[in-house]
Assembly symmetry: D3
């Protein structure tokens, strides 16, 4: 089984760590293919960048040669999953939804800890549309931008662990979803501090994608996610894709 | 006052009729500037096309020379409004939200009548996120694609009027929002048949944009719609924009 | 265009400042007619007074000679708008709903700052019924009664600015609706302190009423707001009206 | 124990039948005092009439000499209960809420059958604010006005029974609340046809009022329903009250 | 009238105090029969114990000789009420729902104060399913286990009063429901400290059960609570029942 | 990896077919252990039977010798999952939630098709508590009891396929969850008729359980699902267990 795991930003070191996380979660026999979009922001922390990522991810997947068995959109709280579902016959899994969906099997309520405060409403909106917000205790921000996770990992970990602890103590979360990229040992540190299970979206998405493939299930094509109707699309895609 | 009214598809005849509708609703002294995106589908009827439109509309607005006072995104149920709000300091009004918001001043519940059934969930999702779904009695589809509205206007009108009548009689709508482009006389025909007020999104959006400008109000920049952070954006925009 | 702006209490100095606010927001050519009810409380801060105001406002409007083009009910969180809609063929705009509806075009979530804590549930209930509560971050009270706004304006402004700041910082509001009468410079002071746009309900209502009139739209009469059925009404209205 | 049961319209024959219904439900030792308001419509079927009734009921209760132990507002879906709660120290029970609250002990979902279609949204709004709408399967109208219940009882019964049957069969209601006045045998006829329990709002309200009195419980005065603040109320009440 | 009041745990001293509370609330002529289940935990503070209690309560009621007129399940936030409704033709009242339903007649919002924090989600879930959560301001835990209420009543009272005060001040509750057993004077102490009405679930349930019996109403049998279909039930009930 | 799959009724032929379904969905290396409870009804079609099953399933799992890695509760819409989560340190997956959670990755809205109409509210309640109801288009009943699925498989299949078709056409479901046991070819028949993906709860639960185990995740023990506190449990379990 081959699963494309598509980063939403254009920073290849992040694609690499996403790929490593995905590979660790994958079953034997699953090939993880990490992809970086051709265009877009070096980190996605808002709607403009997220819409651009939505389109860029779609083009990256369209340009990748068949066959593959599933696609994971590896950005937290980003736009675009519905478009991928229209374009593809294979299952598409968004890591925001994968994490929340998994968390709901583990505790009565879950919280998400993410990077910048400005992305909190995006994540909440994605969870609301996915029907996964009822059991969300809170979405909390560490205040650190995405790229800081790579620059000063220790400070990032501390800030995230702190917010996770507040989610458990103040918001009564029983599970934490990590709404940010893969730092070594982050999940362990959060669990150590809070005593609750920690869900990584990329890992969760890999197991869900594998499960859908094994069950022979894919996106319903009867209405919302039917393939785009044949029509003229002007000036698209750009030449470099 | 100058208001950009941006079509979401690349069909210029639709841009023209949107421009005419907008101009009819505008106050004396308001200049309406209709814009057509440089890239994208000839009609937007699904998520892939809508995400592409989101990005294309943003680039069209970014490329348009300042000054202008407000922007209207003239596509029903489409993605992208939040991105425009980040990019601009002037108010941004989406016609889906403008219509629903206006309808709520006119009756206890409203319905939307749109084109293809596959776009119904997109419209519902946009209204849900906008907090405008509680008083929505139904979103109904005429079954005719966007471009058919231009090709066989009479058939389109009949199908839309029929769904509007069912919304009023079966779903107890007291107001109809037209979730599709501007055919001459459509609103009159619907009102004649159903006896309820009919809201055109483009016209509603023009009055709301004018009102915001006159009140000196624009998008809040403290959190969700803060300007994008300065960062490297790779390979974007494409050369032709 | 002539718009009646009806105060909900019987204090004429408040009617006057409402009238001034309304006139400032009005377009050239719009005549603002401020009305004070014939009976009722000097300030409305609870349900008994609000129900009395509902009836008194309706009688004031019924007694005012035609023609006029729209009516604004200028009380925050008060009862009665639905009754006016039944009695009239012209549009009716409530300032609570006008403010919230306008705020939703400006930020992801809004808060209301009002006078006494006891009126908070009334405002919440009005917003809930109007389908405008989903994006309301909080309704906060300054703790000062309505008439105190006139007596010690500086203290009132301070208390309101303080609650607005807490709404932005603690409740994550991105827009503030002023749920209380027109003090000079209040909006400016709140914006200065919080950095967010501030919506005044009276001003917002004027632009919405003007917009509805210009669009040729008025209350739907097919169901909820149909004119009262012809019937015997005993002992009403009282002689002085 | 003395309980005031206040009609919302000025038709004394309806007051009488409400009084009889209430007396039948009352415990030994409970005195039922039926009251007719001094002013208002002969039947209440819309918001204007309902707001007028709200005020008229409040004045009727204020004018009635103490002591009494509880007040029942005997109109289905009407405004005003919150005002009574402010004015009084004794418990206030609205029959719409009493019926729904009782129905919820009897089945998974309940429906309301009422008179005219135009009153359906009023009832839904009252239930929504009361937090009693979640388990409401539907509010259905027989299409007959209030006074028709007295004029052609048999036709009224038939129309009501028919809607009750549709509520049970189509909407999956397990309990029916009668949202209209007391016709002899109506409940029996509905139960006979549908097999489900039928709740009469007046009877339910009597038992709830008695229960609150026996438990020594009354309206909380700490916030929403605190007594009106002392203030000047102009021109009110009218002379005849 | 005979009402069975069934404890959910197997501690007979608790059954006794429940019986005393129930008897104090009962009308003259009502016989209260307190029952202790044959099997189960000495106190119920979680789902395992609560499910066991559900079954044990059902067997206790099935084993009790007819006739009786109503059954009260006297555990806060416990499972099982729906099963009793299937087994019996007489009304069944759960004290969690009785308290909330009663509280809603007394104030705009209510809070529940209970024992251990771990039971808070159970209570919230019961209220959600009962459609009674909308007006719940909070469910708060005193931190003391059920049996501690008997061991150190004074400490328990203090902890409960403290949480009630925070519910009123911080969460804006206007009524308190006591989600724990009957300590002498607890309600008085809470009212004294907070100034709000306090609802005891057992007492509320007694008056509701009496009311339903007097109104001739019982559980609807058409769908959800129809009697179990005739079928083979293996190895049940256990020999000692 | 060893996964217990526990039937909720005492019919061993059903346990067997559940075991076969589970084994087909399991990865190589996963051992499926089907369990039948020691006591309870031959089929579970209502609350009484479901509560009994909840307890019986818990005892069956407690009696089964460690080690095992996960437990699946294989009854649609049944009580008890929360109790198992308290008792165990390994993950617990309910098939109702597994099916809905999986369906949400496949389409915008899903429907459930189950057996008897009386079980519909149980399923809806389970989905509501699980936070999985927002995207549920409908729960439909075929009208056939559980055991009929074994007795006249062809009639059962026809009735289920018919309801699935109505869910897709009338309720706009894009995915169907099978809320009933494993008949050969049922999923294929439904897909053939409706064109939408069909999710079997047992198969979905197996993949989710495996995923949780592989990710090293299990039930959070900090609050709702903490192990039962040490205490005296009287007369339990019965001797035969």
């Amino acid at each position: 089984m081959r699963i494309l795991v598509v980063n939403v930003n254009t920073t290849t070191s992040i694609t690499e760590s996403i790929g490593i996380q995905a590979a660790e979660a994958a079953s034997p026999g699953t090939e993880i293919v990490p992809l970086t979009p051709e265009f877009g922001a070096e980190s996605v922390e808002g709607n403009y960048e997220s819409y651009l990522a939505a389109v860029s991810v779609m083009e990256a997947v369209r340009a990748y040669p068949q066959p593959f068995d599933a696609v994971i959109q590896a950005g937290y709280g980003e736009h675009g999953r519905e478009g991928l579902q229209e374009l593809l016959d294979v299952p598409v899994v968004d890591i925001t939804e994968a994490a929340a969906s998994t968390a709901q099997f583990l505790g009565h309520r879950y919280s998400v800890v993410t990077t910048l405060d400005r992305t909190v409403p995006l994540i909440e909106d994605r969870l609301r549309l996915a029907g996964l917000l009822d059991r969300c205790a809170s979405v909390r921000a560490s205040g650190l931008p995405v790229l800081a996770l790579e620059e000063d990992a220790e400070a990032a970990v501390k800030a995230i662990v702190e917010q996770a602890a507040r989610a458990v103590e103040d918001d009564k979360a029983e599970v934490i979803c990590l709404g940010c990229g893969g730092m070594a040992g982050l999940a362990e540190r959060v669990t150590e501090r809070t005593g609750v299970p920690v869900v990584d979206g990329v890992a969760a998405a890999v197991t869900i994608a594998e499960s859908l493939v094994r069950l022979g299930l894919s996106t319903s094509k009867v209405r919302t996610y039917a393939a785009p109707r044949p029509k003229t699309v002007k000036n698209w895609p750009p030449r470099w894709v």
